[in-house]
């Protein structure tokens, strides 16, 4: 018995469209989950779900679509960690005082030691941001999405993206300055 998923042409189209973005998706997963092994599993799950639902992808840009799926996978992972029902990050009040959904096992990646010091110290600073500000900053500055693409990936209005980004940068600057103080 064949299913639509057996179609080799479909698999080929999916590879060509989605696999070039693997590093981008993995990078976002690292920032969302702040845990290498969890990020790897989330990315694998994301790609398998994306493949399964590839027929629903209508373009033009596939990155926001992949990111939206990744976010769903990560939110389920947050819920698992918290032992609580799935709660969208967006439901959280947007205050700086808000505790991260999940704060333990902020691990330093093994490879970080090898990377230039600047990148790893910047990554650590970004890791200190709370959600949804961290995700918004990463989508913009690291994944290079436009405001509209971020809105699509995160499922929020463009205006929300803009205010979150302004807040994220203010938070990052504060963390930056705090670190540079002697």
């Amino acid at each position: 018995m064949t299913t639509p998923h057996d179609d080799p042409e479909r698999a080929r189209r999916f590879r060509e469209a989605a696999l070039p973005h693997l590093d981008d998706v993995y990078t976002l997963a690292r920032y969302l989950l702040r845990h290498q092994a969890d990020a790897e599993d989330a990315v694998q799950e994301c790609y398998l779900r994306a493949y399964k639902h590839f027929d629903t992808y209508r373009g033009p840009a596939i990155k926001p679509w992949l990111f939206a799926i990744l976010r769903n996978v990560c939110h389920a992972e947050f819920a698992r960690r918290a032992g609580a029902p799935v709660k969208a990050l967006d439901d959280a009040p947007e205050t700086t005082e808000q505790a991260p959904l999940w704060q333990d096992s902020v691990e330093t990646p093994e490879g970080a030691m090898l990377r230039q010091r600047d990148a790893s110290s910047i990554q650590r600073l970004i890791d200190t941001l709370t959600e949804p500000f961290r995700e918004t900053l990463v989508l913009r500055e690291i994944n290079n999405l436009s405001y509209r693409e971020i809105a699509e990936a995160a499922g929020v209005p463009v205006g929300t993206v803009m205010s979150r980004l302004a807040r994220a940068r203010a938070m990052l600057r504060a963390a930056w300055l705090a670190q540079e103080e002697p």
Partner: protein, 260 residues
């Protein structure tokens, strides 16, 4: 422009997201405001630091191989692709195999699916067109509060010119018309104003002549009232509240009905 107005727009300027008109406005403010000028410089420096740091983390080769292997396996095996190539850890298996969490997570996926169906896609494009129109200089191709000026303007530009109705007496001021593109086709937009809010009424020919009652939806924070009548599809888009948008649609439909 005040510092408050500029605050968020400065970020959009630094990100290259502002249209030329708004960019000029923000730049004019910055030229006269040292505080906001310093803010823009700080944002640009931060952007440079982030861009220069190469913050993309390459996916481990093993992960890439696992995904590569899972794809054809998913094709050949069954409806539970993860069964073919298990994750390195069983961590995420719980919901992949259909736990309660999986069901909840799937509802998120349903939203994605819905957002991509044809109707939703066209409505998303309508909202995009509305957003584009709000950029400086993009709102109207013909500016007139006179329906007898706006309506003939569409003639020859579209297969069917959209009906242009004066609703000023009902509190919706006609301000002009515009040729726009939705779903890769030209579409007429009649532009109204309610207080400071713009209402774009998009009108397209449809193959169906059956009347369809109105639907009200919210997409990306904008309200859309759509209906179909006498071979035309209508989408009224605005950030005014749903009640007022409904009122607009009802008055439009009533006036159209009255005109025969």
């Amino acid at each position: 422009m005040t510092c408050d107005d500029a605050e968020i727009l400065i970020h959009a300027l630094a990100d290259g997201e502002l249209d030329a008109g708004h960019a000029r406005e923000v730049e004019a403010h910055i030229a006269a405001c040292p505080r906001c000028a310093a803010e823009l410089t700080a944002i640009r420096q931060m952007k440079q630091a982030l861009a220069g740091a190469d913050l993309i983390t390459k996916a481990p080769a093993a992960l890439r191989l696992r995904i590569e292997a899972a794809l054809p396996a998913a094709a050949a095996a069954s409806i539970t692709p993860l069964a073919a190539v298990p994750s390195r850890r069983t961590l995420l298996k719980g919901f992949a195999m259909g736990s309660a969490v999986s069901a909840l997570a799937a509802t998120g996926l349903v939203a994605i699916v819905l957002r991509n169906d044809d109707q939703q896609r066209i409505e998303a494009e309508i909202v995009s067109a509305h957003l584009r129109s709000l950029q400086a200089g993009h709102l109207t191709d013909v500016i007139s509060t006179d329906q007898h000026t706006v309506k003939p303007w569409f003639n020859g530009k579209l297969d069917v010119a959209p009906p242009v109705i004066d609703l000023t007496a009902q509190g919706f001021t006609l301000i002009g018309g515009r040729l726009d593109y939705v779903d890769a086709r030209p579409i007429g937009a009649v532009v109204y104003r309610r207080r400071q809010h713009v209402i774009n009424l998009f009108v397209a020919q449809t193959s169906s002549t059956a009347r369809r009652a109105s639907r009200l939806e919210t997409i990306q924070g904008f309200n859309i009232r759509s209906w179909r009548d006498r071979g035309l599809s209508y989408w009224a888009v605005s950030d005014i509240n749903p009640d007022e948008l409904n009122e607009f649609g009802e008055r439009f439909e009533r006036t159209m009905g009255g005109s025969g």
